[in-house]
Amino acid sequence: MDHKLLAKLITKIENSPELAPEIIQRFPESRSKVIGFTGSPGVGKSSLIDQVIKQLRDKDLSVAVVAIDPSSPFTKGAFLGDRIRMRDHFVDEKVFIRSMASRGALGGLCDAAFDVVKLLECSEFDYVLVETVGVGQSEVEISNLADLTVLVLSPGFGDEIQMLKAGVMEIADLYAINKSDLPESDTLYTQLLAFLSLAGRGEKQVCRTSAYTQDGVQELVERIEDLWNSLCKSGMLDERRRKRLQYHAEHILRRLVQKAVHSVKGCKTENPYEFVQVALSRLCETHLKKDGQGGGI
């Protein structure tokens, strides 16, 4: 798809999510390899993605990137600065980079992410790379969106106690220890292997990368490809895609429910359950009238 049109459609989806089904239905279904990159702020997610793009382009594969940064809870403004690290690819016709603001979403993504990834898949990119906001410990939504998730770590992460904590450490299919040119990365590597061995996992899940020296990036891309292929063969990929569909549907429903709740006016009840009944009937009235297409979803 023409990049200009694609960019306009993404804006439409972002600003008016109710237009998403009509926009996406215009294009034939297609499938890309959707890879998530998550990790704390400053570990080098964007710089690593920049190098991953380079590897993929060397194979003449087309790449779309969705890079999400946080919105201000006070002003709704945002400073979107992931793209800076990917400047070598700005004029490449087969690379499309879109910065998005989280707009109040808390899971590390933005509300439009599911629809935008779907649209990018329809645009027949070989790879869609999704970069989350810099996350803490519990933002794990990327694992519901991506086919596989890379957790990017860097020296300074903390001791092995941090690794034992539930949340983001658990969702990774692959771990990239970035900034591996720094000597402290050896300790992190040893700690990570010790942690993974507890779960019966090991070296195959860990790549040592340096976006700065470019070491290890080729290996990371090979691991991503191998893992994607094995997920595909084992049927796990289809299972993950079904899970994604459910989460996507949940997102859409949540938005409709919010709209329905806010549209309930003149209901004097003090009983929240009665209020729910009113909101639910409002929801059904609005959305169950057309033949499965939904009334203005």
Binding site: K4, S71, T75, K76, G77, F79, G81, R83, V91, R98
Partner: protein
């Protein structure tokens, strides 16, 4: 809900972006989504970024003295890509004598040294609302 998106770009070879960052920060605080390209961008990189990010406004920060050439080139490329409806403003070390030329080539506003941030934010809002009025809000 529509939130305006603004590209702040540094074309050419000057190596200072304090001003661009200060303006980007002020626009962020005014509720805009600001995309910053970083230093030393070619006009081609800037125009491709504006296109992919579907921005509503482009701000060029130029301190090198090459503002006439660089602005002209950016506007030319925007025409070529069919995105010359996006308004452009220029900030930086711009001699007052050059301002009429910039405005004539299509630049909407020029902000020289010492311009108050509140003035920039106010002008940006004016430019964006002019744009909405002329395109019927799309």
């Amino acid at each position: 809900m529509r939130i305006f998106r603004i590209l702040i770009a540094k074309p050419g070879l000057d190596g200072h972006d304090r001003g661009a960052k200060v303006v980007a920060h002020a626009l962020r605080d005014a509720g805009f989504e600001v995309i910053y390209t970083g230093l030393r961008q070619t006009p081609d990189q800037i125009v491709r970024t504006a296109l992919q990010e579907d921005v509503d406004l482009i701000g060029l920060s130029i301190l090198s003295g090459a503002h006439l050439q660089l602005s002209r080139k950016v506007i030319e490329l925007m025409k070529k890509e069919g995105i010359d409806h996006i308004p452009v403003f220029v900030g930086g070390i711009i001699p007052p004598d050059d301002v009429p030329q910039l405005l004539q080539m299509g630049v909407k506003r020029v902000f020289g040294p010492g311009t108050a941030l509140s003035k920039i934010v106010e002008e940006v809002k004016t430019i964006l609302h002019e744009g909405v009025a002329s395109t019927g809000g799309s």
